[in-house]
Amino acid sequence: MKRRVLTFLILVTLLVPAGMGISLGPPLKLAPAGMGDQLKLPVESNSVRFMVIGDMGNGKARQYDLAKRMDEARQTFPFTFAITLGDNLYGDTAPEDFQKKFEIPYKPLLDAGVKFYASLGNHDSPNQRSYELFNMNGANYYTYKQGDIRFFALDSTYLDPKQLAWLETELRNAGSDWKICYFHHPLYSSARYHGPSTDLRLLLEPLFIKYGVNVVFSGHEHVYERIKPQHGIYYFTEGASGELRKGDLQVTAIQAKGFDADNTFMLIEIAGDQMYFEVISRAGQSVDSGMIQRQVPSRTNSSANQPPQKAR
């Protein structure tokens, strides 16, 4: 009798958690809790570390306050570059606006050598592509590599056939690198004000799936949101780095985590096949964190995030 009860208890302990876990992609592990004000990122040697900001360039106190948090974070998490998700400058874009809305708030980061790789939003003049501190090299869309991560910065306000063809070629040539795409308009969103860009999704998602894109960052919605993996791809919205729409997020079936109470920025660390992320608010709180495990793609399967396929 006792043996039967013990066997039953062992089986329940093993099977119930497995039965409750439904994974559509690689497992998402949460970093250990209870680290107080310290960042939860591991800061491994030889890792690639960067910051993600979006919809920041309004020149207001909130942007400046958050920029101070970014510099504080950099003291313990020395990131070397940042990506912007568009709406880099709001309103007037005279030369002095570049100072007020970008160069002054981020001066400590720029002085420390942090490079910003910008993408364009719907509030951005295409001529920002020539602005030296955005490192776009005169192009509305471009690709670059950091470590074994290939980044693709797109212009989602004007996704024409030429850009799509370019993207497909570059994705095909990226091999087994981490593939991270970023652009302004989110393909998935639980925010009320704009909602998901389904027209863009029709054209971009098939490419992302076919060529194994791992992570997509977008802005436009002035909130932070992490979406549950869609076809194995992780989607993040970070559009609250200067602008903010409080209370705009709905709770939806696709949402893994959302935060719309304060401005935020993201810190990312990629070490081997792990991507760690942490989201910091203007108040200095960690509002989301975790780790994404990238599956190593097989030779015949170009999509890095699909589960292993059975042999024929």
């Binding site: 309103g91 007037d92 874009t93 005279a94 030369p95 606006d97 570049f98 719907n122 509030h123 003049s125 295409p126 001529n127 020539s130 602005y131 030296e132 490192n135 090299n137 005169g138 989602s156 306000t157 004007y158 996704l159 024409d160 056939p161 030429k162 799509l164 308009h185 704009h194 909602g195 860009s197 389904t198 027209d199 863009l200 029709l202 054209l203």
Partner: protein, 198 residues
Amino acid sequence: MIRKRPNAGPLKYVLLVAFLIPCWAWAAQTTASPKQMHEDAEGFRDFSEGVLKYVKVHNSVEARLRQVKRADAPENIDAHQRELASGIRAARSRARRGDVFTSDASEAIRHVILSVFQGTQAGAARATIQQGEPLRHRVRRVNGTYVDTAPYTTVPPTLLMSLPPLPDILAYRIVGRDLVLLDVTANLVVDFLPQAIP
């Protein structure tokens, strides 16, 4: 006992019409008459010629200016944009609406736009415009400036797939319901098609 088949009566006509209506709608959106196709081809030819003519003007003005580097300072970018716009305005001081969107070109492009906004992706295209902070005001004049502080309405990519391709210096923009041909480097309205977006 012989059992008579039930008389379908009016029901079969209702079903027939219910089947035909979507077929007519699909045929209307996907099948242009040969006459229309011929006229549209001429319209697109007109449009291409107008675009090429404008590009020559743009290039000849820009060749006389200090070139913007790929990584440049904001004051240089700003100065270049203003000087380029000023030079182009002077070079095409007689430009009028319809120079590029000629009558035939307008007709052809309106057909393209209609086919997108009546097609299977119409809902997604409309949603894109709505989500992209649609602008209320209308474009007022050729050679005018696109207002610096106004955001760009996202041009539905499904629409861009169907419109004639443009050289890099030009882009389609949507302002209200107008389709604008914009010189993105000079921030200058080249021409516009009023009330083009249904």
